[in-house]
């Protein structure tokens, strides 16, 4: 279920693409620099929610997370990166430092730094972030808010965790009485603390 995995190099590439600024998107019809991103020697580990996992509820954490399964509810990784992988299906409002969407996403995305939508992604919802990139081919319906003042206002009003909220964090600490329902088919494996 929650697996420890190496962060995909392609994700790093996506963020590098954003950092190059908007001029690239004017000069290149299709941003292709993902494959040209420099490899970083210190690859960051990211928690992974596997594709056979379904989570209903709130999900919070303090480390990077990659989702290949189904998540319905709310995702908060305020200081970290969230990657919705190509197999990921999200029906949730998402709050993170940076978000990369390569799968299917229904809900609002708040990124305090950036949001990147890959070419195979399908996003139905609103994006609020100071920097937003979208690869040609991506399907997107909704609003993109890039006004720094509006972004700051939206991010400052995001819901905060309360003592009564039950959550699954990226360390896979699963509260036995939480409102999280984990569907783990026979093929699913659970790694980490439970």
């Amino acid at each position: 279920m929650f697996e420890r995995g190496k962060k995909d190099n392609s994700d790093k590439g996506a963020l590098d693409t954003i950092d190059k600024g908007s001029e690239q998107y004017f000069s290149d019809q299709k941003p292709t620099s993902n494959t040209q991103a420099p490899k970083t020697p210190d690859r960051t580990e990211a928690a992974v929610i596997g594709r056979s996992i379904r989570i209903d509820g709130d999900l919070r954490g303090e480390e990077d997370l990659r989702i290949e399964g189904d998540v319905n509810g709310t995702i908060q990784l305020r200081n970290n990166t969230l990657t919705i992988g190509s197999e990921g299906k999200i029906s949730a409002n998402v709050y993170a430092k940076s978000v990369t969407v390569d799968g299917s996403m229904q809900g609002d995305v708040f990124g305090s730094e950036c949001v990147s939508v890959r070419k195979n992604a399908q996003v139905n919802g609103n994006i609020t972030a100071p920097r937003v990139s979208l690869e040609d081919g991506a399907k997107f319906k909704g609003s993109i808010e890039m006004d720094p003042a509006a972004v700051e206002k939206a991010l400052s009003s995001q819901p905060s965790a309360t003592k009564n909220q039950k959550a699954v964090d990226a360390n896979a600490k699963i509260a036995s009485r939480s409102n999280i329902r984990l569907s783990t088919p026979d093929t699913a494996t659970v790694k980490g603390e439970a």
Binding site: S22, E23, Y25, F26, S27, Q29, P31, V117, N126, R131, V132, S133, L134, E135, D136, A138, K139, F140, K141, G142, S143, I144, E145, M146, D147, P148, A149, A150
Partner: protein, 201 residues
């Protein structure tokens, strides 16, 4: 047959063309502190980048897949509800600019009226609508194309479909009737056979 050949060429080499009214819009973007832009077409990186530089909110409707559904609606009230559901939520902030790049050519008159009346309802006095209408050519691709703003304020026509169908070739009078809440501010015939319109609410 000729139309098919033209489209094939466009697919192989996207056509860049000057759109003076669009250029004037882009040059005028710094005049406002904030823009709320509604794009009826598909999301493109360059469009996001362009308006991202001007403290904007960009609403993407991407109506291309809904054209047939909209054209099939005969009941005005139902059409109104469907259009409202297809457009991104207004969020209590009036739309300043609407990009109608190609989608108008694919909407039949009742559907076009329904869409534009809902857009007018979310606008304000002075809301602008920029539209590209097939004018000289008798045929157009079977599906709405994609137009990409370039750094020099020109537009790139990225045709994605080979097959052609007859173009409605809406006249200014047709458009005036369908866009009852808007008036034509300016219109220009472009080198690629399209007519560029700027409407004002």
């Amino acid at each position: 047959m000729i139309a098919r050949s033209v489209n094939l060429a466009r697919i192989e080499q996207p056509e860049k063309f000057n759109a003076p009214l669009f250029r004037s819009l882009v040059e005028n973007l710094p005049s406002r502190e904030r823009w709320v832009v509604l794009d009826l077409g598909a999301a493109r990186a360059q469009t996001i980048s362009l308006f991202g530089q001007h403290n904007s909110r960009l609403d993407i409707a991407d109506l291309a897949d809904e054209v047939n559904e909209l054209n099939a609606l005969s009941d005005p009230q139902l059409a109104r509800n469907v259009v409202e559901a297809l457009l991104p939520k207004c969020k209590d902030e009036a739309t300043d600019l609407v990009l109608c790049w190609d989608i108008m050519n694919y909407l039949e008159r009742p559907a076009l009226s329904a869409v534009m009346s809902r857009i007018a309802a979310r606008g304000r006095n002075g809301t602008l609508v920029h539209a590209l209408i097939f004018y000289s050519h008798t045929h157009m691709p079977t599906r709405p194309g994609c137009y990409v703003p370039q750094e020099d304020c020109s537009l790139l026509d990225v045709a994605t479909h080979l097959d052609a169908r007859p173009a409605p070739r809406y006249s200014p009078d047709d458009l005036t009737q369908c866009l009852a809440d808007f008036s034509i501010e300016r219109a220009m015939l472009l080198s690629n056979g399209m007519q560029e319109f700027l409407f004002r609410l």
